[in-house]
């Protein structure tokens, strides 16, 4: 965990000690997080089989962040993120089949096989990508917030980025404009401790990334990003702040990625022990499972049923992604320009 300061105006911790949720909500969170976990494991497997090309950045370990935020979001809110985007797509309601088929580069994928792992979009689900350039999604998300405000549609944009991206200049340019124009945007920093192979403390002069908006008067809090209920509670506050016209808000999610930066990561920069310690002590899926059992929201059998259902969805997606045909060669020259 990063050191947390309570002195800074922009960095007070506001989540309560024991956030609560109804049994139905807990089961939904479990289902949603498990879907991401199993989907990503399958994606890793397909990558190993040579069915997925190029870069493939897995979200395993970070599931509570996007599931908690989506639980707090309202219909019409928009989402934009980086290339580590599979979890965000599933959490916004995009179908596992279409996402997996895009990973395998098939015509049934969300981008007809032309975007791949890092570039997927769904207007219908208000998911605006999937951006491959570190930090580029932050001004784009700020622009989505600009559009929400301009159209007065009551929406808020959740712009996700990692600890690595948080050092990009355009992030600070965005903070400035968002604060200046009171744009409805929540910046969700997914601090998974490593920008590729460089730890936060080796890359950021101030490790309290949630306090980075202080210079612009943007409030920020540190959140236990391994606890879906803490995320949801903090997310709800941040979204309400932005929605009410008070401008941007920063959530510093303390999370962890179990897998490498991408599939080709040699993992020389951290120890096996560090990873297994987080897995055994802070795993977000285990945590919500424990919440369910503690609250008697469901028994082991009911959870096993969810496990089986999720597994079936992922298996079906993998099957679909392998069976779907590749794009027709005629697609090479389509979608370059909108016909006026």
């Amino acid at each position: 965990m990063a050191k947390e300061s309570t002195k800074r105006k922009a960095s007070k911790k506001t989540t309560s000690e024991n956030p609560t949720a109804s049994p139905e909500e807990l089961l939904q969170h479990y289902n949603d997080m498990l879907l991401i976990r199993r989907f990503e494991e399958k994606a890793g497997q397909l990558y190993g089989m040579g069915l997925i090309a190029g870069f493939c950045h897995l979200y395993i370990g970070q599931e509570a962040v996007v599931v908690g935020m989506q639980a707090a979001a309202k219909e019409g809110d928009s989402v934009v993120t980086s290339y580590r985007d599979h979890g965000h797509m599933l959490a916004t309601g995009m179908e596992a089949k279409g996402v997996m088929a895009e990973l395998t580069g098939r015509r049934t994928g969300y981008s007809k096989g032309k975007g791949g792992s890092m570039h997927m979009f769904s207007r219908e689900k208000n998911f605006f990508g999937g951006h491959g350039i570190v930090g580029a999604q932050v001004p784009i998300g700020t622009g989505l917030a600009f559009a929400h405000k301009y159209k007065e549609d009551g929406g808020v944009c959740m712009a996700y980025f990692g600890d690595g991206a948080s050092n990009q200049g355009q992030v600070f340019e965005s903070f400035n404009m968002a604060a200046l124009w009171k744009l409805p945007v929540v910046y969700v920093i997914e601090n998974n401790r490593y920008g590729m192979g460089t730890s936060v403390k080796r890359a950021s002069s101030n490790e309290e990334l949630f306090s980075r908006g202080g210079a612009f008067g943007i409030p920020g809090v540190s959140v236990d990003g391994m606890d879906v209920l803490a995320v949801k509670e903090a997310g709800a506050k941040a979204l309400e702040h932005a929605r009410s016209g008070k401008g941007p808000y920063i959530l510093g999610m303390q999370t962890y990625r179990y897998r490498g930066h991408s599939m080709s990561d040699p993992a020389k920069y951290r120890s096996r022990e560090e990873v297994s310690k987080v897995r055994s002590e802070r795993d977000p899926v285990d945590r919500v499972r424990q919440y369910i059992l503690d609250a008697n929201a469901a028994d082991e059998d009911a959870l096993k049923k969810i496990d089986a259902d999720v597994k079936a969805v992922v298996s079906e997606a993998a099957e679909y992604a392998q069976q779907s045909p590749e794009p027709d060669l005629s697609e090479l020259y389509t979608d370059i320009l909108v016909e006026a």
């Binding site: 979009f121 001004p139 784009i140 622009g143 989505l144 559009a147 355009q170 400035n176 979608d335 909108v338």
Partner: protein, 453 residues
């Protein structure tokens, strides 16, 4: 000892200005540093400060006078006790060329009809009004903004300052601060923001003060604006216009004088436009704003103040992707865009006096290029010279040469010739700057060479 106050050059491209207002009267004492007059330049209203102290002996140019050339004496400051009535107004000192481009840009009111038999694909027959390129651009934005309230203008100094080059004059007043938005100096940020706003259903017009500063935003323009439609399988386009001054300005040296045409023309997913005349500016900007794709709109600072006849009709537009034959000819095709169209037209005039009939194509759109018009012309003239400010390596002329090889190889009577900017960063000194840019003489020489004359 009387000291003359001269009409100052208050911007790099100013050749004349309006003496808007005298703030002192004859007989008033002035200290050096006192603001004595307001001067309207091609960009803004500026205050003129006294350099010498003394008494304002005589006002030579009355307030409200327009078109006062730079370096014209406008007043005389005398010393205490001097007799103002004895002042003789000396002849204006020789006017230094304020624009240091190699060849003066075509005269302001040069009517197209005199230099060419214009062939307009629109065959517009309605009324026209003479206006500057600056006004044409402003009118295009205003007309489109009236029809669609999702269109907004964003950029540095576009609102309260009325545009660094006065392009957005009056727009804040008409459309309000919601739709005419001053940004911080943060090109990368506001370009990305505009891309996001376009994804979110709005239609941004982004003004770059000049395209030199758009380099800061290159990633968002290429990776986000141009490519997302493709990467999303056609789901999400970016209907935005990115416009501003491109190419060589005058006397501002390497970092502020550069043509980016070939950079952007290289990129699939963009449309790239570079207008020459007021008609181009208005008709093409309106088309760009209506287009559902990201459009790079490359203007030229030196052309902003030049006047052309512009069609009055609100629905006048010029199609993207079509070039214009500005002057018909039979011996050689001169292909140019932006300010170089004027240079090519001047060259054609010179060539005509020497018995060479040059056809001048104004490309208007650089991506997609109007290959048909280019090839048809070359098949007729059998000779081609491209004219542009950009550097030689991989420039627009290179593309024209390749197109010519691919489509009209058997029709060529001479190798394709390129007249372009020299392969150097733009120098500052006037003589070096002039040497670095194409001019009429260079075009005439190249045209004669391909005609073996």
């Amino acid at each position: 000892m009387a000291n003359q106050v001269l009409m100052p050059a208050l911007s790099p491209t100013m050749t004349e200005g309006t003496l808007a207002k005298w703030l002192v009267s004859e007989g008033d004492a002035v200290q050096s540093g006192d603001v004595i007059a307001e001067i309207e330049t091609d960009k803004a209203t500026m205050e003129l400060e006294a350099v010498d102290e003394g008494i304002l002996g005589k006002i030579i140019v009355a307030e409200g006078s327009e078109g006062i050339a730079v370096n014209t004496p406008i007043a005389v400051i005398i010393e205490e006790g001097e007799d103002a009535s004895a002042i003789e107004v000396s002849a204006p000192e020789p006017v230094a060329p304020a624009t240091a481009v190699a060849e003066p840009a075509p005269a302001a009111a040069q009517p197209e009809a005199q230099i060419a038999a214009p062939i307009s694909e629109e065959a517009y027959t309605g009324s026209t009004t003479s206006m500057t390129v600056r006004e044409a651009l402003r009118d295009a934005m205003a007309e489109e903004m009236r029809t669609d309230d999702t269109i907004f203008l964003m950029g540095e100094e576009v609102a309260e300052y009325q545009g660094a080059y006065k392009i957005s004059q009056g727009l804040l007043e008409e459309f309000g601060e919601k739709r005419v938005i001053d940004t911080p100096i943060t090109e990368h940020g506001f370009t990305g923001l505009s891309v996001g706003a376009a994804f979110g259903g709005l239609r941004p017009i982004v003004e770059f003060m000049t395209f030199n500063f758009a380099m800061q935003a290159m990633d968002q323009l290429i990776n986000s604006a141009a490519k997302t439609l493709y990467m999303s399988g056609g789901q999400m386009g970016c209907p935005a216009v990115f416009r501003g001054a491109n190419g060589a300005a005058a006397g501002v040296a390497a970092q502020h004088s550069q043509c980016y045409a070939s950079w952007y023309a290289h990129v699939p997913g963009l449309k790239v436009i570079s207008p020459y005349s007021g008609e181009d500016a208005k008709g093409l900007l309106k088309s760009a704003i209506r287009d559902p794709n990201p459009v790079i709109f490359l203007e030229n600072e030196i052309l902003y103040g030049q006047s052309f006849d512009v069609p009055d009709a609100d629905d006048f537009t010029i199609p993207i992707g079509k070039s214009k034959i500005e002057r018909s000819g039979t011996d050689v095709t001169l292909i140019a865009y932006s300010i170089m169209v004027g240079v090519a037209l001047e060259a054609a005039e010179t060539l005509a006096s020497e018995g060479i009939s040059a056809e001048v194509i104004n490309l208007r759109t650089l991506r997609p290029l109007d290959i048909d018009t280019i090839v048809t012309s070359i098949k007729k003239t059998n000779r081609v010279v491209s004219v542009e400010e950009g550097w030689p390596v991989a420039n627009i002329g290179s593309e024209i040469a390749a197109i010519t090889m691919e489509h009209a190889f058997d029709y060529l009577d001479a190798p394709v010739s390129r007249v372009c900017g020299e392969d150097v960063p733009m120098p500052y000194a006037r003589n070096l700057e002039a040497a670095a840019l194409p001019n009429t003489e260079k075009v005439v020489t190249a045209a004669k060479a391909v005609c073996y004359r």
